[in-house]
Symmetry: C3
Subunit: 345 residues, 3 copies
């Protein structure tokens, strides 16, 4: 994992950075700024960590072009986080799934599997499925009948893709993901019980999406639930029936979208935020953590709070709230003073 060694100048070339250094240290690892020691390359991507530059024991550092000169040998770039990601890959030996189809996997009839697909122990691929080239299906993943899985997609252990759903190219499903579970649709009957509505829609996960562990994405009664190209969903997220997540939108952990709500492109949603059903959220909107959105959100808006409001208004409310109990006393005093004053006028 860290047997490799490389000169800083070689790394600079490989990850397209400009090297600013009096020496050319040998690097054997990429590490966080607090943990790094001699031989390590570190980085500053979060401004909270700039203060550690002076004290880090790292041999070199990746820095944004906009940061001041440092004494440490540095690799400069306009996108230090991306450079860090690429540097990491130089030293990391990723998990490689074994070649081929494991003898214990069950491949149903009428399945098409692309070249170089890797399918692990006890995986089950249902009838009529189509799996692309270079697909990796880890142990215990289950693909129900008539689903499609695109080229280079990765299904981790215990991921499930339900019947008729479609997973795009290079999609990554982390462990325990459920794609295409039945939407929460029940018609109330007169006696107070419910009639289950068959969920005939599909879930479409477009190319380059990543779905976090134990996240669930429901199918709808009619029409498709769609996660558009490049979107990233963290762990334990719930996507309701018929919802849509726009291109390159990012949803942090434990977010919940109720049915038929549509997020635009490049929407960013903080952890544990929730959305009522049947909403439209515009492109580039930012929905902060734990907020509860019950109305449409304009493109580019920043909303917070439960129920969610404009972020600036929310911040004012949040600062004011702890003053409320004192304010109540103050108003009571004012009333008394005013009454007393009136009696004197």
């Amino acid at each position: 994992m860290d047997s490799l060694r490389m000169k800083l100048s070689e790394i600079a070339v490989k990850i397209s950075c400009q090297m600013v250094a009096d020496s050319d240290p040998v690097i054997s690892r990429v590490a966080g700024i607090e943990e790094a020691g001699p031989g390590d390359l570190t980085f500053v991507a979060n401004r909270k960590y700039i203060r550690h530059i002076k004290t880090t024991r790292a041999s070199a550092i990746i820095l944004g072009d906009d940061l001041p000169t440092v004494t440490l040998p540095s690799l400069r770039t306009s996108n230090p986080y991306l450079a860090f990601a690429k540097a990491l890959e130089l030293f990391y030996d990723p998990l490689e799934a074994p070649q081929g189809v494991h003898s214990s996997a069950i491949i149903s009839p009428n399945v098409i599997i692309g070249a170089n697909a890797r399918i692990g122990p006890f995986a089950v691929i249902g009838e009529g499925c189509v799996l692309g080239r270079d697909v990796v299906v880890y142990a215990h993943a289950v693909v129900y009948p008539h689903a499609h899985v695109g080229d280079g997609a990765v299904l981790h252990a215990h991921a499930v893709v339900r019947e008729h759903c479609r997973i795009g190219a290079r999609v990554i499903l982390q462990n325990g993901v459920v794609i295409g579970s039945d939407g929460f649709g029940f018609a109330p009957k007169e006696d107070g019980s419910y009639y289950k509505i068959v969920q005939t829609g599909r879930v479409i996960v477009e190319d380059d999406v990543e779905v976090g562990a134990n996240t669930t994405i429901d199918r709808a009664a009619v029409g498709d639930t769609i996660i558009r190209r490049g979107a990233k969903l963290d762990n334990l997220v719930q996507i309701g029936h018929g919802a849509q997540v726009g291109e390159n939108s990012v949803l942090a952990a434990q977010v919940g979208l109720a049915g038929s709500t549509r997020l635009g492109r490049n929407v960013r949603v903080g952890g544990q935020a929730g959305f009522a059903g049947h909403l439209e959220v515009g492109d580039n909107a930012v929905i902060t953590a734990q907020s509860g959105t019950s109305h449409d959100v304009q493109p580019g808006a920043v909303v917070s709070g439960s129920p969610a409001m404009d972020n600036a208004a929310w911040l004012r409310s949040v600062v004011a709230l702890p003053k409320l109990s004192d304010l109540i006393k103050k108003v009571r005093d004012l009333e008394k003073e005013l009454t007393s004053l009136k009696s004197r006028v």
Copy 2:
């Protein structure tokens, strides 16, 4: 899936609606009002979509008796949502699990399996289990020893039923559901560490319950955790040890019930709402999304907010909150004016 074609008049008979139309169009699909085209039957169940009736390209529509006359051929009923559910079934070819017990499934000794049970690849049924007639156990579902599964119940891939738990007739467990995991019970010891309390209780899931993907229902140290007949739980819901969910109650996604809390009948709980432990929530109560209930709730009450309060009071607070920072300034001004006035009296 949509090869079937049927005249609207035939559909009217099959789903018990009154047909109001000048023609008798041939229908080949049920579709949402915005997506529908020629040959499609659509519906309005959510009032938000009434405005689309004029512009839909559908050939016919299912409508409530209470809605105004429309020019589109329509099927009228007092329960349009139920009629829609039944219409969908006419055109949908549902997933059928293969007959019989797959050769790779492991059926332990002393298991009783009813007629026509279907058990998929790699399913594991523990010792002493009883499975009813027409049970469907998909690939990779695991039933621990001494559990009961009722007639016609469906366990989707990766569902787990733990030891001694009981699943009623026609219960549906979506993928990744965990029934009977150990309750979160630990006795604090003097050194600050915890002693695990054995969780000897069972989880009882009564007839006609549906449990959403990756939802978890814990067993208790003593006594049973009970989900009563007809209740519906969405995805990623947490039911704590010894809690009870009443008949026909409906819990949206990501709701959490702490231990020993009891919901009455026909309670409706919005997404991401939470309940403290040891509470009683009365029949027909409505608990809105993201609320946090820490006190008992009266039957029929509607509560909102965190901590939860009467919904009407909460709505007033929510409207008032953004005015708070201005109010603080206003009171400061009043104080100044009053001081100045006092000096003049």
Copy 3:
């Protein structure tokens, strides 16, 4: 399960309590105070249930030394909850996993397995793994390559331990737990899409930790995610990349920790609470349910609300909030009165 019978005096000795009784009833079960009947031993651990002591039909009761004298035969102790836990074990016959390695389990090459390990059907143990003595791996659990599982650890059905992660001794992973899924790390590119950052870190779960059903703990890009000795995590919890949970800390269900946040020792976190990333939470802090912590928390502090504040301030705000709409009217009235008064001075 309840065939055993034991005199109360015998139980007193076995669970180290002082018996205070005029008789020595035969006990055959431990039960909750409301459900208990003749032959049952019950207990009061939660003060809410003290009122039931007079009416319980139990034959005997475990009580704290600090509670008043009762007529029921009682077992007295300074730690009644712990005594209850031990009494339960006397009457409970826990699930025993079958001895040995099931013939269907797949043990990869170069795996070391300790004495008396039990490995269930379809379990998959990856290359280079080390499993300690007395480990129990239930059906369908998956251990990716190069992971370590400590002595006496229990992995329930569908638990996953990803590559290179380490699980300590006596750790319990409930069903569906995911240890070591990829952290949510993506570097934004100029075109608005994201570049996946390889997550090279490990998840370290120290000794005596319990992790609840379907909880997810992510690995980080660099450095380890650590759950320290004795911590207890309930169901559906999310631990972000590089976070740390301190010794004996307790996290209720559906809690979320964003990346790099560190909780100290003996921290207690209520259900559905959330933490922003890169925070420090001091030892013995208490974070109440549904709160949203976005700043560091001092040792011993009690914080509540979203955004979280000092609990006492939050309680004042929460009491004051429903009075806000009346306050707004009152201030409007004051303004009018003052204006009228000014005109008269």
